[in-house]
Amino acid sequence: MNKLYIFLKYFFIVVWTVFVVAPFLWALTTSFKDFQSVNGGVTYIPWVDFEPNLEGWKVLIKSPAKGGVDIIEPYFNSLFVTCTASLISIILGTLSAYALSRYTFKAGFVKNNDITFFFISQRIMPPIVLSIPFFLFLSSINLLDSLTGLIVVYIVLLMPIAVWIMVDFFNKVPREIDETALIDGCNPYQAFLKVVLPNSIPGLIVAGMFCIIFGWIDFFFAFILTFTEVQLLPVKIVALNSSVTPWWSLSASALVSVAPLIIVAFIVERYLSKGNLSGAIK
């Protein structure tokens, strides 16, 4: 029984690992292939099945004049926009969520829950519905085709996620902890910063992760709201595609674009596995 359990456990771990890792391996090998190796039948192992070359990767850093697609600038644009928008969203979202969790708001029939729902309802609408107002809005304040404009739009898209996750989180932190902080001599701001926030790190991490993921992978708004001045990575990657699908450079760009998310995931995983987050609050 016990042996069977161990066998099944490892069996599923192996199956799942193959499931997760295989696409990456496939992308990695493909990125070193040329036209012949991709289209000339099935090839897996470098130097045996095919001769690896760096053409796929070189395309990503070559200037367009030399027939490449320079993704370095879009890459850093994407990093900058995602990080800035996520950070601002987390800060604003956490503050709003705390207020929504701890204070009672009432305007006619609108109460706390309605306000929380209003935030998340922004995400229920299909993006296409928002695209026209966003376009007109940004053009009226001259922020079309700019990093600032994109950051503004991304904050609108990411903050609801932060609010939603953090309201739920704060609701689980006993109010008595805030009250005890007040009794122990903290003013409300100190109570928030010294007691509530340190106990909300797990929630902040989850909210931050979602913001970064949704910001980083957005293609639609980056595509509609930028033209020539500013470009983000997802849009640039699509521009790689031409009459002949360049699997090698697409694979390379896929790996490059997924890298930051993998790094974030590893950091968070390390932090979570230290165990100083679980069970912080009963």
Partner: protein, 359 residues
């Protein structure tokens, strides 16, 4: 420095949490707020702490309007019934928190925290995480954090209710010692509880609270001996005092076909709708007594609680030993009738065996 409240009312929804509550608490004394759940005990403590603002009424402390002082400047301490500590800090940091907030010298903080740890019996635990402690230990940390501040007002909101029986007894004993020797003479100690036994053991001034109203104020002994109404008698006894609808005539208490000779303090009461109150411990099993039917028998600790019935009259008898009864068994009981209370039809005390409102 007295804590004086005048007509505090708080009504957040359609129910009063506090209804015209007034009191005058003097420094160096222990006050017990006794009331059932939802009677407004926590609301009252939170109002004193400043966490709630009453709809109307005043609180003065040391002659100054307390309502104008924000919580963080009131110098109060509070222990909750849930074990509330700061989960992100260890035991030492938890207790040091209020002192750090006052920007006190680190060496003095160390000294005070160690003193507090010693007084709650947690020396050696200072580097533990809060989550690693048992419920009782967590509550001790919470208590230490409130002691370390030398607060002028110390509020304890049912601090023992979430602990198991044995720990509760033990901590209650420690509390009593702490209260009697450890606290400075200028502290006002306010302790809320649902447990009449705890109230009697703490032996302070008791405020009986029900549905936000103060029903009776007095020393624990006085509340126990002369409850001014049926409600107080119910709240201040566990199990609640037995209430029997009876008639007194010809010096006899009559109910359910039973005639008992009325003791002197009840003999003159002949009005209609009279209710006789008798503690469950003032009824005993007796071969020559009156027959009742067992509805339920529960054993709690070394006690047996018998729920009995005769006609429409239901009573609870507590017996100081463990006995087994079956449902529908017949038992014979006798009343220690000279310890009976009488209440008017409106619930007010008519007569008590301890001399309250005789005749």
């Amino acid at each position: 420095m007295d804590l004086v409240a005048n007509n505090l009312s708080y009504k957040p929804d359609d129910q009063y949490h506090l209804d015209e509550v007034s009191f005058n608490f003097k420094e160096g004394n222990l006050y017990t707020i006794l009331g059932r759940t939802l009677s407004g005990k926590t609301t009252l403590l939170k109002t004193i702490a400043g966490l709630l603002t009453p709809d109307s009424g005043e609180i003065e402390f040391d002659g100054k309007n307390f309502l104008k002082v924000p919580v963080w400047e009131r110098n109060v301490a509070m222990v909750y019934q849930q074990f509330i500590n700061y989960p992100h800090l260890n035991v030492f940091e938890n207790i040091a928190f209020p002192l750090k907030q006052r920007k006190i010298d680190q060496s003095i903080i160390n000294e005070k925290v160690m003193d507090a740890l010693k007084s709650v019996g947690l020396l050696g635990y200072e580097n533990r995480k809060i989550q690693e402690l048992s419920g009782g230990q967590q509550q001790r940390v919470s208590l230490a954090r409130s002691l370390v501040k030398n607060a002028k007002i110390l509020l304890l909101d049912e601090p023992l209710v979430n602990l198991d029986y044995k720990l509760r007894e033990q901590l209650r004993e420690e509390f009593k010692n702490l209260f009697s020797k450890g606290l400075a003479d200028e502290t006002i100690l306010i302790y809320s509880t649902t447990d009449p036994r705890e109230t009697m053991e703490l032996n302070g001034e008791v405020i009986v609270l029900d549905e936000g109203k103060v029903l009776q104020v007095g020393p624990a002994k006085e509340i126990f001996e002369n409850p001014n109404s049926l409600k107080v008698a119910e709240i201040s006894n566990d199990p609640p005092m037995n209430i029997i609808e009876a008639k007194i005539s010809d010096n006899q208490i009559r109910f359910e076909g039973i005639d008992v000779e009325a003791p002197q303090h009840l003999s003159k009461l002949t009005e209609d709708g009279l209710k006789i109150g008798l503690r469950s411990s003032d009824i005993e099993l007796n071969e020559n007594g009156y027959e009742f039917e067992v509805e339920l028998a529960e054993i709690s600790g070394s006690e047996t609680l018998l729920h009995l019935k005769r006609g429409d009259t239901k009573i609870i008898v507590s017996i100081e030993e463990v006995l087994n009864f079956k449902i529908h068994d017949k038992v014979k009981i006798n009343f220690k009738i000279d310890r009976a209370y009488a209440f008017h039809a409106d619930g007010k005390l008519a007569s008590s065996p301890f001399g309250g409102l005789n005749g």
